[in-house]
């Protein structure tokens, strides 16, 4: 191993030693503690590991033992996961704690995700986006960076991501008996009414629990919600939709994603995407839960109204004065949280997090020979996230003023000359 490689590994070990030293508390909060680089060990039969990677498009489960901070969980289920991020070299992984052992949990969790950070050379977008959304009070998974070791060999930098399941829903909403759905992207869809046939909604809203309930129970309220979103008269829109959807929570989530320049979220470029949907027990009222934000933070000057016209739901929400005002207020709140400084002229919160995470993961990224990008690309992408963190708040505030004062007629706000506007 070259000297550089040895130094990188030494730095990585130092980071992990810091994590180990902080061991003691053994809760899921510790696993998702992003103040340290977690170390997760997976032991899997070499034959299974080979085929998990070779058939990364398959959801076949393999047996593994999991170790974290001296705790061992035996016989967990391990499979490849992801959509565009599936990889035969550095697979994204889903860890099912109770796949083979009924009732088994790990720190109270029944599963979690090891995100391979395949689509983001900076490795930072998902982590930062989810953290900001959580600061806004938007339901989002907890995450932390982790160095993954498979069969005692370093297998790359991953993000350990909280699964959105009944356990997570319980943490987020204080109940889990309701209906939880994972949205599956099947087409460009923007909440248009697809008719009364429930089969039209079933492929998109896949139940996480209550899987064997009648379709009318599962999808009936969803069909009714979409019908109401499309058909409710303008004056009654909010009151008609509220029984089905917490519009205030929706507006905050959309605002947070708008600040984060999320291209693949509720108002994404390819229709609605990347969310879970929870319907509260005994009601028809639902909320969105954020998921998978690796396409966020890609443009400092990302349009704050992107997707507003395409989405039936957002278009009609913005026609309700109270909701429109709430939206812009939430966008400004996101900007304020991102730029929150500990003292005058000091770096904002988002910038400080970028700096901290860069230091935390830098050695691991450089030691990660399985990542699909070079160290130089990591440095460039990482530098862009710094630019985004520094400039996005000012741009957003300017845009809110412009859109509010001139109804968008004035020229768009600009960013400092020479700054990169787009992530590479």
């Amino acid at each position: 191993m070259r000297l550089t490689g040895r130094l990188v590994m030494a730095a990585l070990c130092a980071c992990l030693a810091g994590a180990a030293a902080s061991a003691g508390a053994q809760t899921s909060d510790d696993l998702f503690d992003d103040q340290v680089l977690q170390r997760i060990d997976v032991h899997v039969n070499t034959r299974d590991w080979y085929w998990l990677k070779a058939e990364s498009a398959s959801n076949t489960y393999y047996t593994a033992d999991l170790k974290w901070r001296g705790q061992t969980v035996r016989n967990v289920g391990l499979r490849s996961r992801g959509s565009a991020s599936r990889s035969a070299v550095k697979p994204g992984l889903r860890v099912d704690i109770n796949r083979y052992v009924t009732g088994q949990t790990f720190l109270g969790l029944t599963s979690f995700v090891l995100d391979n950070l395949e689509t983001d050379a900076s490795c930072l977008r998902e982590m930062l986006a989810m953290k900001l959304l959580r600061r806004m009070g938007v339901p989002a998974p907890r995450e932390a960076f982790a160095a993954l070791f498979v069969n005692n060999a370093f297998a790359g930098l991953y993000a350990v991501v909280e699964s959105i399941d009944e356990t997570a829903v319980d943490r987020l909403f204080g109940e889990h008996q309701g209906y939880l759905f994972e949205y599956q992207w099947t087409m460009v869809y923007n909440f248009e009414y697809l008719g009364a046939a429930l089969e039209a909604y079933a492929p998109m809203f896949q139940p996480v629990n209550h899987k064997f309930d009648a379709p009318s129970t599962l999808y009936g309220p969803i069909e009714a919600m979409v019908r109401t979103i499309n058909d409710a008269p303008d004056p009654d829109f909010a009151t008609s939709v509220e029984p089905y959807l917490d519009l205030g929570a929706f507006v905050r989530m959309v605002a947070g994603q708008a600040f984060l320049a999320e291209q693949d979220g509720l108002l994404g470029n390819w229709g609605v995407n990347n969310f879970y949907f929870y319907r509260f027990q005994g009601t028809t009222r639902s909320r969105f839960i954020a998921w998978d934000a690796d396409h966020a933070m890609t443009a400092v000057d990302y349009d704050l109204t992107a997707g507003h016209n395409e989405s039936v739901l957002m278009r009609r929400v913005m026609q309700v004065p109270d909701l429109r005002a709430a939206y812009w207020a939430a966008v400004l709140e996101a900007a304020a949280l991102a730029d929150e400084a500990e003292e005058a002229d000091a770096p904002g919160w988002l910038e400080r997090e970028v700096v901290r995470f860069q230091a935390q993961i830098g050695p691991a990224v450089r030691a990660d020979t399985l990542k699909p990008y070079s160290d130089e690309e990591f440095e460039q992408a990482s530098a862009y996230q710094m630019t985004f963190a520094r400039q996005r708040g000012a741009f957003v505030r300017c845009e809110v003023r412009r859109l509010g004062a001139t109804n968008g007629v004035a020229a768009p706000c600009s960013v400092p000359v020479g700054s990169a506007l787009r992530a590479k």
Binding site: H43, V44, N45, T46, R47, D48, Y50, W51, T63, A64, D65, R74, N75, G77, R99, Y100, V101, Q104, N151, N152
Partner: protein
Amino acid sequence: MSDRPVAVALAVVLVMAAAAPRAIAQPVNSITAAIAWQAARTVAPVARDQGEVLVGAGGAGEAGEAGETGEAGQAGTKKGKKGKKTDVAAAKPGGTDPSGFVWDDRPSLRFGKAFRMDFRLKLQADVRASSQDLAPVGGTFEMGRKRVGIKGSVLQRLEYEVEAEIGDPSPWRDVFLDVKIASAAQVKGGKFKVPFSLEELTSPTELDFVYRARVVDALAPARDIGGLVHGRLFKKVLHYQVGAFQHDGEGPKTLEPPLLPGEVAGLRGRAYAGRVVVAPFRAASGHKALKTLEVGGAMVTTTVPEGMNNLQGRSVFDGHFFPRSLYVNGPRVRTGFEFNWMPGPASIRGEYIRATDAREGQGVGDEQQIDSTLVPLAAQGWYVSGTWVLTGEKTDGGVVAKRPLFQGGVGAVQVGARYETLWFGTPGATGPPSTSPRTSQAIENRDSVVTIGVNWYVNRWVRVQGNAIHETFLDPARSPIPGRASFWSGVCRLQFVL
């Protein structure tokens, strides 16, 4: 559906057989001689033909079912008891051996003592009922066996058998030659049952109950191609069998894990088997009731290729209670102990069988070792059964109705009961019980079965069996009826054997 014509044929045959007079060996071209011969046999009744072989005592054919009971070597399962054995030629007027095509309980082609070829037919039809859904396992009616074959001897030194299952894509059952060098040394080659387990080596047409015990079905190897040296020593007190076989019996195909690039599929290893049965009181004077007592032990070793090739547990009607879902690799060792005693109209027998499958390199490993070796998977069980012939016939040599139906009697009636258990698990393993294919500790399961049965021997060809079966599973979640720990089943079997 394809069994319907066979079932109809069986029904016709059964009716004809029930109405037929007690058959005798008679040259078809000599009615007069046949009448005289019949008179002679009436004085000295012929033992069941399975024992009526022309080779000397102790030959494999002595027990008739050469592939099954023939190699069992059990005094009790032999059908040709010395005391009753009546050579066809000896009973025939004039003392000459018959030649040509004869009828001796079954059609037979003979040329004196030099050659014999019996034509065999075995038909079984079952009507079944159970709380378990039988549709996936063949329904409520099943043609259990439809076998035809030939069996015989040449020059009193060579025995042979060829038997096939009609309609089976893999039809061949017993196909072998057995050369008698001496009573203590015979050499057998071909396809036949690996010598292990008293009940496995007993012909299905001779079983006390409709189905073999679960432990036998699950753990005993069946037929395979191989060679066997066997014989009897010390006045037949000891019967030994030592053999080598291609594999450990015909079983489901091995399920290889996906091979890695350049990797060659593992091969099933050869099987080596040995079995010894001792009848301690056979040669002793006195202890008449104990003469039929036998005890024995057997072992079979082989190598199982890497894959989900573990021994599996099935209920009476083929419901999986311990499926084939664990990775194994390495030696498979079977050991068995048996006893058998048939005093007068009673019989009592039992077996204990244990099998272990190694799991070399099948674990997930840890800091010290990648692909660790797991604790072997174990399966073990036992059964004990007893029967009583209400009509008084002896069980030694097989129940033969003294007064068959329509020949002055109602046949022979036998009642019996059996208790058995079969368990799967990983004794000594640590870690949480799991359904993982690479778990250290598998979730154990056990099937405990009580069978109550009645056998009606209508005549020498026809038998009717009825069994009531109660199964109880340790893990109700993996019962054939998920969530239900125990349930009843019943089966009625009609059997015709030539």
